[in-house]
Symmetry: C2
Subunit: 270 residues, 2 copies
């Protein structure tokens, strides 16, 4: 354990100004770094095979995290809570922050063998929503996530945190282009269902019953725009969650959770 | 329409320092005021029968909201965007803010006739979660919400906003005490289901099938603590959403949405 008291110490370079999106993007090319925060999430990142570069802890968490860093073969930097906040630019709530090394993403085709239920996200570019959708997809038993090129990064700090580490538990890949990616899914026998608030779409429950024996890829769009016309027309069916009381939609994480649940529960009597 | 340029103008008193929780609580006793923000939410509050005290608009929204205020018989105050922010203490994103008058809440017993699916919230004291649970409950066809005495106020600004106005569409009441309230529900023929991550609980899907013909009250606890031992032991059954990939829970709004969906969809073939 190395105690650091100088905010300009070069060992703290990975932790500088984490709230600045531009800086994070510069620091996060392929093979770059990402941040895991809090004991549970850090342990999940390690269990998923991500190498640790270093860990920053505040005094209260030093003892608990010492063996985690040692097990990962990474240096452990001890800093005061005030210095941690000054360096990172935000309040380090969970007392431990690990700089992790990215590993190459699998090819989309690597997710297909054995998968029965995939989520496909189109242009979900809010990190909180990406994290929440991953948490729901992992918790409810989806087999993986495919991202359109313009989806937000699941390993961005906020997405990791909101997902409670689910971004480490669930396989995911990025489609180089959405259209050919959907063609590949269909060729592999997946039925493509597009989730939409469109009242003309099929009710989710009926669609889930019909798809019980098939492989399914569920297409989800962003909160504001929904799925693009191209994605909607590429789908085999449009699916909606029936709405009541004059409410027109759920937020994307709640809608996704409901759809994941409907598509993953076993057929009655099955 | 009355233009106001002085931040100390007494007509702006309802809109002062809306971000200060202590001030809001002082201003929101029974029969006090609450805030509705944005055209859609303001219209929903009016449609639900809440009287409008006044409305504050920024210039861009003045024309669109003029007839809404006139229809409600309330004064419309026009202020610059900067003055709006200075008075309220936050950026008035949706350009229109209405000070509404509370009406007396119904007694819990008034929600029971005709209701088949109720949500009962215990100690959900985060306004974002209360708003999100209401949005899901209304959208997914629950018939009403009962709140324990220590639940957060659904008419608090943040809850109203996150609910997208669902707090106006869905009947709700506050139980003077949780225990006797649950007794009353049971006496009215409701089956009490407690949602919990406890692995020993019954799977939601099986519980929903079993309860298809019954009246059901679904008990939901707060994100941190879950339901109290008292609430758990008062329930007729404990129900869980099966979890995968080592994830131990969903957030309360997503879990609630999944449970509402499971309990409100028609039985297969029914």
């Amino acid at each position: 354990m190395e105690e650091i008291t100088d905010p300009g110490d070069p060992r703290l370079a990975d932790y500088l100004s984490l709230t600045d999106v531009a800086l994070r993007r510069r620091a996060e090319p392929a093979g770059g770094l990402f941040m895991a925060e809090g004991e549970k999430v850090i342990r999940r990142a390690l269990a998923a095979g991500y190498p640790m570069r270093s860990m920053l802890v505040t005094p209260r968490w030093a003892e608990a995290m010492r063996e985690v860093a040692a097990g990962a073969g990474a240096p452990l930097y001890l800093v005061g809570a005030e210095l941690a906040e000054r360096v990172t630019g935000y309040h380090v709530h969970r007392g431990a922050l690990a700089a992790m090394r990215r590993t190459p993403l699998p090819a989309p085709s690597a997710l297909l063998p054995g998968a029965r239920r995939l989520a496909v996200l189109e242009a979900v570019n809010d990190h909180t929503n990406v994290g929440a959708v991953f948490r729901g997809a992992a918790a409810l038993g989806m087999d993986g996530v495919l991202l359109s090129p313009d989806c937000a990064d699941p390993l961005y700090r906020r997405a990791v945190k909101v997902s409670m580490g689910a971004v480490f538990s669930l396989p995911y890949a990025r489609l180089p282009r959405l259209g050919p990616g959907l063609d590949e899914l269909r060729a592999a026998g997946f039925r493509l269902l597009a989730l939409t608030p469109d009242p003309a779409a099929v009710d989710l429950d009926a669609a889930a019953r019909e798809a019980a024996g098939s492989r399914v890829a569920l297409l989800l769009g962003s909160e504001g725009e929904g799925l693009s016309p191209r994605a909607l027309s590429a789908a085999d069916a449009r699916v909606r969650i029936p709405m009541s009381h004059g409410i027109d939609s759920l937020n994307v994480a709640a809608a996704a959770a409901v759809a994941f649940y409907a598509l993953t529960r076993p057929a009655p009597g099955g």
